[in-house]
Symmetry: C2
């Protein structure tokens, strides 16, 4: 256990500072160039799914019902892919729209539709100011959708069980509050899975806005790191009739098969599906059904996907462990940082309590390690306490990763010591 910086004398802090600065300069001189900015799978993970690209050697391009997936049609997706996602999400196949390669597009297009066409009522944009609740730290691309569409964002505190329900209940009394994005399982970046109680409370919200929507971005639905996986309550199973149109769930195979060449889906109520299809029938003739059938032929069913995910976990677990081991060895006991130990997902969230996260970002960058932009995990890129750092350990190989995390811990210590001795 390291000695707490907070209990050191000025003299001891000065000695620490000199030692850490020397260590930092030594690392900096190595001329590293490591990118830990995004949740990108490593190339060994990509190889896992290569066989999927050969499933059509049998020359069979038809669905069970005899539809040739190489031709136009089936706007809602091929039935067997609807079924696959329905099984994974615990909903009925008819409540699924199978999308293209990007669940982000499904979300953007849906929120834009609510803004300019409406969610069962007058378009949001014609009702005055539009606000979204943003549990944070959170996913920067959710915030970017809001910002680009002119939606005002309101920070909501995250607890270890999910977003702060009391704060949400208060906020939804304002009818200008039209929605929120959440990542309910292995949240980005903290890896928090919402408790049953939080899921139920969200399902039973009584927002002032009749057209309030929760975008349930279940991006990490099967992305467990080990057998000790978190279990997320199916929100549709506890949704009261009055809120039946409130949930828009999305997920994709981006981090199951290929990022950018997977298949996404959206699940919602019959009414919402109808509204979305009404727009979609103008926007497209169909999504890529060859890719849908490719995935169905390869995975077969939800169990097939879950088995497949064990191969990813086998690669990712040592990477997460490497980060956590280094954080533990270098930072525990210093009382200058806190972090989580997630059971899945793609990130580790580090909170720097003794210095500024933005200073850590600069120090890392100067030593050749690119982190996710500090601040990006908050709306408008502004972390009010300048403390959160998102660590994306998946892309670098384990050796490089260890170097990168070393740069990070040394930078955290240095930034904190700069603060303490000034």
């Amino acid at each position: 256990m390291n000695q707490s910086y907070l209990k050191m004398s000025s003299e001891e802090l000065k000695q620490q500072f000199d030692a850490v600065l020397a260590e930092y300069n030594e690392i900096k001189s190595q001329g590293l160039n490591i990118d830990m900015s995004r949740g990108k799978p490593g190339s060994d993970q990509l190889d896992i799914s290569n066989d999927m690209l050969n499933v059509f050697v049998d020359g069979n391009f038809k669905t069970e019902a005899g539809f040739d997936v190489r031709n136009y049609g089936l706007l809602q997706g091929i039935p067997e892919c609807q079924k696959l996602f329905a099984e994974l999400l615990g909903v009925k196949p008819e409540n699924i729209i199978v999308g293209g390669n990007s669940s982000l597009s499904l979300m953007y297009d849906y929120v834009a539709q609510c803004m300019f066409i409406g969610a069962g009522f007058t378009p949001w944009s014609k009702q005055g100011k539009v606000k979204f609740l943003c549990p944070c730290p959170g996913y920067d691309r959710h915030f970017a959708i809001c910002e680009s569409l002119g939606i005002e964002m309101i920070n909501i505190r995250m607890t270890s069980e999910g977003p702060d329900i009391a704060q949400i209940k208060e906020a939804v009394k304002d009818s200008a509050v039209k929605g929120m994005f959440v990542v309910p399982k292995y949240s980005n970046p903290q890896g928090i899975t919402f408790s049953d109680s939080v899921v139920k409370e969200l399902a039973e919200l009584t927002p002032a806005a009749d057209d309030f929507r929760i975008i349930w971005d279940n991006a990490y639905i099967v992305h467990d790191l080990s057998d000790e996986s978190d279990r997320l309550l199916n929100i549709f199973s506890v949704l009261p009739e009055r809120n039946k149109n409130m949930i828009i769930e999305v997920t994709s195979t981006s981090k199951i098969s290929f990022p950018g060449a997977g298949v996404s889906c959206l699940a919602s109520s019959e009414e919402n599906i109808k509204e979305i299809l009404k727009r979609l029938t103008v926007q497209s003739i169909s999504y890529d059904k060859l890719n849908m059938l490719r995935h169905v032929k390869y995975f077969k069913n939800a169990d097939g996907i879950k088995e497949h995910m064990k191969k990813h976990a086998k690669i990712l677990k040592p990477k997460f462990d490497a980060v956590l081991d280094t954080l533990n060895a270098d930072l525990s006991g210093l009382e200058i940082a806190e972090w989580n130990e997630p059971n899945g997902g793609y990130f580790i969230s580090l909170d720097v309590t003794g210095g500024s996260a933005s200073r850590v970002g600069v120090l890392c960058k100067e030593a050749g390690v690119t982190l996710t932009n500090v601040g990006a995990t908050f709306p408008y890129g502004k972390d009010p306490s300048d403390s959160n750092i998102r660590i994306a350990p998946t892309f670098p190989n384990p050796e490089v990763l260890k170097q990168a995390v070393k740069v990070l811990t040394v930078s955290v210590r240095l930034a904190c010591l700069e603060n303490l001795i000034k």
Copy 2:
């Protein structure tokens, strides 16, 4: 040559009517069920591209620059696919965004962006009424985009050289007129290729609106039926500097490789590309780059695509000939219908001058042949003269096609005779 109905006596017309009615009833009794409603390739056309699905047996997933297409990134598309489309369209690769499986989505998303985010100026939707010019007969899905986004449509007459330029010049004096969709080569449904003069006149328009856009839907760019192909002037080559942002060209491989599983692209000015990427970076992380590389590996270059198209022509030419032969045999000389003989594209356009097209649609439907909804080739589904019928000859096999066109010509004659003897 048939005798003109217009020169027949009442007695002769009555005899004709009885004979044609008997023929119609005979056909009706056969219980046909033929769909000629959409421009769908036949399954023999789909087979042509099957080998494309095996290009990754070499296990090489990298671009020339070493980027792994299985992972996130490259929002604008892989460079070799930008190059492929650039060669096809005669523009620079940097002016290309490679899209997903649907050029329709590229168009919808762009027009929606102009409406709600703006085309370099205040969003169209905030400038008051928004109008589009619609050369017609035209493509129903273009009209659907306008209608769904609340854009008022103004009919523009088509001539044998393209849309009526005088009418367009007059219409664009209204600053509420913000754009138009055109299919400049083998137009849908008439198969007309715009003359050089029309292309130049369009390029040199002086619209009152600074944010006027022409969506240049070059869907049939290489879709020739024989060596006697039409040649379309590259509009970018004659575009004056003041109109550099006026053209948004799109095309796709939907009818080259697989409909719904091809690759689309958009070509425009540097400024427009920047504006679109700004939205796209929020809407998606990237389009499907595996599919881009799949197409590049298979086609190699523009010549590869053109060679490939000869295989489609070999299948399609006999189908077009079968339709034209039957139209000629059954309708020429009667003076009740006119049609075109296109050198490419996906449609034959029939104008019924002696009866109502909608009556023909009903008669065909009752005899088991589904045509494109009569009226669909005009804005709001309303053909002012109720004369245009779009024939989509590509999907049925030649034998079935002959039956279907027979139903059509008998229906045209019957509808006309009903008119003449009443």
